[in-house]
């Protein structure tokens, strides 16, 4: 029907409530976390098989005969993003086994996590707007409920309501853009839209409507990707969510917005006709600067990490603004690296919160001496986020700044200045944590349990590994960037049978 990856994820999502209720009957609710983790592992194996198929023939198309015109199109970029999503979902669900053990409603939690990852993988596999919209909304609605999961306290409810209102506005703008693009060309299939709008000479009146649709796409997906004037939901929603969900939100959900923005913009509004590069460049500088400066003012550890996520989206948009193969390689590689680094940072913060019960940075002073392993992993992730050499964050930032210097030098200068500003809050965080004198709350802290430490250490090891042995992941990112820019292969693979 669909690809094996998406099929297995959908079946896992539908069976999860049944498995959850059965696990509650036999009083072994931790089994549900194991079920989710094994499910993600199985999906990663299916993805590896699909990677082999896509490597042979560059673009794969899966059609549903029931809906004429709708299809799933899988190319290298889709596989890359799918790998990021499934890897982070696996780590978050292993972490959730111990972290969420005192919460009620765990069957709903794991079902929603599975539904959110299914929605994300479906979005990156979508070949037309129908499939994209449906899986996008599946991801969005699951994330609204997951942010407001601990509804007994006021903070998740307030943050969840704010996030819902802003994100639904974004979805409505996306739907208006779909309607306009359909009205202009007569199709919702991405490849056919690209063929009809991409190379054609447009009358000035028609061109105005196309620019309007482009602005709607950037705004609609930008609300989810948290670009700067539209980012205000993120610093409230990410701290208020349970920590594994914060890791997922920062690590992968905002990247889905960036992916959809890139895919639609590069396919339907090619950079040579519609010069949106400068617009995304200005947005990127604004995003980086506001994210970094606001992070310097925070005292809540999860809020610092949330503002840091906003600034890292700014770095990713540098690569998108430049639009060359090198820039897109840097952007895609930074998506992967940031997902690993920010996911691990949020999980470390979750280990601290689980041990001590507070999120305030001043009350956590000295906790590094009592929880050395989590702190070592946290330091590795922060040095990666700053971009210090033998770690993977350095590689992607270097490629981004190098790509920007070939045409938009102001982006490189802004990026370097923002990296310098960001060291301010990362190093302050580490400094407060590794002090010798502990605050009173910290004296009861013990090291995190193994199920929580294992995903943190796996991700930290991957950050070090991909900083030293760059070639596999860099080659993968280069192929993904090439497939994003290769419109001919995309259109000819889909257009054959339409």
């Amino acid at each position: 029907m669909f690809t094996p990856v998406l099929d297995s994820l959908i079946i896992l999502t539908v069976l999860a409530p049944l498995v959850g209720v059965a696990a509650q009957r036999i009083k072994a609710v931790k089994f549900l976390g194991a079920y989710t983790s094994v499910g993600f592992l199985f999906a990663i194996l299916n993805l590896y098989w699909l990677y082999g198929e896509v490597h042979a023939s560059k673009v794969l198309v899966f059609r549903l005969t029931a809906l004429p015109g709708s299809c799933l199109v899988v190319d290298m970029l889709s596989i890359f993003m799918g790998l990021v999503f499934l890897l982070l979902g696996l780590m978050a669900s292993i972490f959730s086994i111990r972290y969420m053990e005192h919460d009620t409603g765990l069957p709903e939690y794991f079902t929603l996590v599975l539904a959110m990852i299914t929605g994300m993988v479906g979005t990156v596999f979508a070949g037309d707007f129908f499939t994209l919209f449906l899986f996008w909304e599946l991801m969005c609605i699951s994330s609204y409920v997951l942010v407001a999961f601990r509804k007994q306290t006021w903070e998740p409810v307030e943050a969840g309501f704010k996030y819902l209102i802003m994100s639904v506005s974004g979805s409505v703008l996306i739907l208006m853009a779909i309607a306009l693009l359909y009205g202009m060309t007569g199709t919702v299939n991405l490849a056919v839209l690209s063929g009809r709008l991409g190379g054609v000479e447009l009358t000035p009146a028609a061109e105005r409507w196309v620019y309007f649709a482009l602005v709607l796409v950037i705004t609609g997906f930008g609300i989810k990707a948290s670009i700067v004037p539209l980012h205000t939901w993120l610093p409230d929603a990410h701290p208020a969510a349970p920590t594994p969900i914060s890791a997922l939100l920062s690590g992968v959900v905002i990247k889905t917005g960036v992916y959809a923005l890139c895919r639609i913009s590069f396919l339907i509004f090619p950079l040579i006709h519609f010069h949106w590069g400068i617009l995304i460049g200005v947005i990127s500088v604004l995003t980086m600067t506001v994210g970094n400066i606001m992070a310097l003012l925070q005292n809540d550890i999860k809020r610092i990490l949330a503002y840091s996520s906003i600034s890292q989206i700014g770095y990713i948009l540098i690569g998108v603004a430049v639009g060359t193969q090198l820039g897109l390689t840097g952007a895609i590689l930074h998506v992967f690296n940031h997902a690993l680094m920010k996911g691990a940072a949020f999980l470390c913060a979750g280990a601290f919160i689980h041990a001590v019960g507070t999120r305030m940075l001043d009350e956590l002073s000295g906790i590094g001496r009592r929880m050395p392993l989590s702190t070592i992993a946290l330091c590795i992730t922060f040095f990666g986020l700053i971009g210090i050499p033998p770690l993977s964050g350095f590689i992607s930032k270097l490629i981004l700044f190098e790509a920007a210097s070939a045409g938009m030098v102001w982006l490189t200068i802004a990026g370097i200045i923002n990296t310098a500003i960001s060291t301010g809050y990362y190093l302050r965080f580490i400094n407060i944590i590794i002090r010798h004198e502990s605050s009173e709350r910290v004296t009861v802290a013990k090291e995190a349990p193994v199920t929580m430490l294992a995903p943190i250490f796996i991700m930290a090891l991957l950050i070090i590994l991909f900083g030293i042995w760059v070639q596999p992941i860099l080659g993968f990112a280069q192929e993904a960037a090439a497939s994003l820019l290769n419109l001919k292969a995309y259109i000819s693979a889909v257009g054959g049978g339409l």
Binding site: L67, P68, G69, S70, D128, F129, F130, F133, L134, E137, I141, Y144, V145, A148, K151, T153, W154, E155, V157, E158, A159, G160, F161, K162, L164, I165, V168, S169, S171, V172, L173, L175, M176, I178, A179, L180, Y182, G183, V188, D236, A240, M294, L297, Q298
Partner: protein, 103 residues
């Protein structure tokens, strides 16, 4: 058959009205009605393009419109449950009271 321009114009007016509701109204339930109106405006624009010829209907786009209506219903359900929990914590439906999350 009503011309596409007129229906599209009405749809854009609905979206703007819905956006006004979200921005200006204080009652949380009125804000949810605002997002429903906005969603309906976007779906109306989709339907107006899909059925502009006499007797012709594009099946895929109409399916998208029906699914978007279903999604709008789910969103209203989630939003209303959030409003119920917010009322339990804040004892009011005024959105301006939900301001504990600042800088």
């Amino acid at each position: 058959m009503i011309a596409v321009n007129i229906v599209l114009g009405f749809a854009i007016v609905l979206v703007i009205l819905g956006f006004y509701c979200i921005s200006v109204k204080r009652n949380m339930i009125k804000m949810i009605i605002g997002i429903e109106v906005m969603t309906n405006g976007a779906i109306l624009s989709l339907v107006s393009f899909a059925s502009y010829k006499n007797g012709f209907v594009d099946p895929l786009v109409h399916s998208l419109a029906v699914m978007a209506i279903a999604v709008g219903g789910c969103i209203a359900a989630v939003a209303l449950s959030l409003v119920v929990h917010a009322y339990k914590h804040y004892k009011t439906l005024d959105i301006r009271e939900l301001r504990r999350l600042r800088w």
